[in-house]
Amino acid sequence: MTNSMIIAQKELLDLRRNNFLIAVLGFVLIAVVISVVVSATQFGVKLDAYNIYLQALKSSGNTTVPAAPQLYPLQLLRGSVEYLEILGALFAIVMGYGLIAKEKQRATIQLLYSRPIGRSALPAGKIIAIAVAWLVAVATIFLAVTLTVAIVGHASFTAIDYQRLGISAFITWLYLIMWSALALGLASWTTRLSTALIIALVLWLTVVLIIPQMGDTMDPDNQVPGGLFKSLGIAKPDELAVLAQFSGFDTARNGLEVSSITKHYERFTFAFLGIKDQFNQQPLGLAWAGVWNNALSVWFAVFGAIGFALLVTTRKKLLRRTQ
């Protein structure tokens, strides 16, 4: 067994024994399940209201049957994906930071480097452990939300739905590895552990919360409850024609949004789960054609973060006197 695998095995054992981290992941799991339950209940309420309305129409002798609300089970996962992009990223930072912080705080890093281990054995082992830990966590989360949609939402899944869930779980796994690898790299890179935590938290705040919020705020349609164009009574084709005259503003707004990796993750997942109406019930190829650039961005970000962690997690940096 290589040194990296030995380190990875030891890290996984540590993570399994870390009750606090398990509690934190349990919290994310509860939040995503609650979100699905709330969305499924909301759909149930809409359906009940529709049935009551239909009964009233029938009893008044009206033969017109309005369209019933349609349940698209994967759309119930919107809130869950949003929790993963916000809270998942935060807890991924804590996990990545913790893997280096504990070695520095307990001074076990000196012991580790007293053994004949290669340059990349330590960071590679820790990143493998992160990848395995997130694989288990993401698989558990997606299994739990799928079961919740099936039980609470009374939904049935087709083969393509499972493919959509699998692809979304995979990109979620990459997204979370990225945040953990970044935090791991920062904890190795900085002399003071608190500085690493500061940088990671500020990055999380800016990339996950502030930039998407600013982009959302700048969307003219979000300025009026229910949507600007709906409130003005403007149809979709006319809306697009009007907005075409503000392409500069929209390009700036979109540019701001795409500077956040969280937005890339969100756009990709929303397309594959059919949460974005444009891709709902469409073939996977069409979703891929629409959001392949977002997948590429997440892919680059995860490799960038892993590369950064591998580059900066060196014997020289880790054995510096920690303040």
Binding site: V38, T41, G44, D48, Y83, L90, L209
Partner: protein
């Protein structure tokens, strides 16, 4: 009284030297400064969209931003207080109580004729003064930004409303300072001390409002409080959980103070809940036992 002031002074000095609160402060001040610009840019775009639509004969509706208060330009500050401000307050609280535990100076401090209540009150006053200075600066920036956008100084009524908004913001942030301080006292590790209040914040800001209103987490990053989904158990759940979400109550109180026409509800109830949350936080903090505050860290 002298000892409380000495602790407060020391707290202020330490806060000036801490990096994390300072970095968060810079992010906060920058965001509040640009929020006015974003508000103006967006309002101008919406008005231009309305103009084009009217000229093309697509709508007869009135401009949605006609006759809105100048304070409407500051509405996004509310969300930055809920996001950055609350996190900054948590970090301030945690570092405030963790600092002495980490440095193991508490035994020495408490060997002086000083009660735990005096010690914690001193720290609270120090942090409150720091936050007051921050909010006063941010308030002046907001006032100046709006004055530049509208091309004239804000009137007495709007200035009073803006001051009231930053006043309630101080009370709101102190609730998170107390949460952070309590966590800093009880947690055995620094990371845990930070994560527990951040988890409580995420429950307050996202989970509780979602249960009652069915609003998704990202849509809750909005200065307007979410509205209950009509029907089913949502009304009852909203009645039950809404008062527990201090962040939504703060949005309600702020919306009223900033004359946001989209915000409806009971301002008195919202403001009372923010005050009650802060008072409960202070009470819990002051009830801390002497042996607890001296607990060693596992880091």
């Amino acid at each position: 009284m002298t000892s409380i002031l000495a602790i407060s002074k020391h707290e202020l000095l330490s806060l000036r030297r801490e990096k994390l609160p300072l970095v968060l402060l810079v992010v906060f001040v920058v965001m509040v400064s640009v929020s006015g610009l974003i508000g103006w840019l967006t309002n101008t775009t919406v008005s231009n969209v309305w103009n084009k639509s009217t000229q093309a004969g697509l709508t007869n509706a009135s401009n949605p931003f006609e006759n809105v208060s100048p304070l409407y330009y500051s509405r996004n500050t509310v969300i930055y207080l809920v996001l950055i401000g609350a996190l900054m307050a948590i970090v301030l609280g945690v570092t405030s109580t963790m600092r002495d535990r980490k440095a193991r100076t508490l035994d020495l401090v408490l060997s002086r004729p000083l009660s735990v209540v005096e010690y914690l009150l001193g720290k609270t006053i120090g942090v409150a003064i720091w936050l007051m200075a921050v909010l006063a600066t941010v308030g002046c920036i907001s006032w100046a930004s709006v004055a530049i956008i509208i091309g004239k100084p804000l009137g007495v009524q709007d200035t009073t409303r803006l001051a009231g908004f930053y006043g309630i913001a101080l009370v709101f942030l102190m609730a998170f300072v107390f949460l952070g301080m309590i966590s800093g006292i009880y947690a055995s590790r620094e990371t845990t001390a930070l994560l527990i209040p951040i988890s409580v914040w995420s429950i307050t800001a996202f989970v509780l409002p979602q249960i009652g209103t069915s609003a998704n987490p990202v849509s809750l990053l909005n200065p307007v409080p979410s509205v209950a989904f009509p029907g089913g158990a949502f009304d009852a759940l909203n009645t039950l959980f809404r008062p527990l979400s201090v962040t939504e109550q703060f949005k309600g109180a702020s919306g009223w103070l900033l004359s946001n026409p989209e915000v409806t509800g009971y301002f008195i109830a919202s403001i009372s809940i923010v005050f009650i949350a802060t008072a409960l936080g202070l009470l819990t903090l002051l009830l801390t036992r002497r042996d607890r505050i001296r607990g060693a860290l596992n880091d």
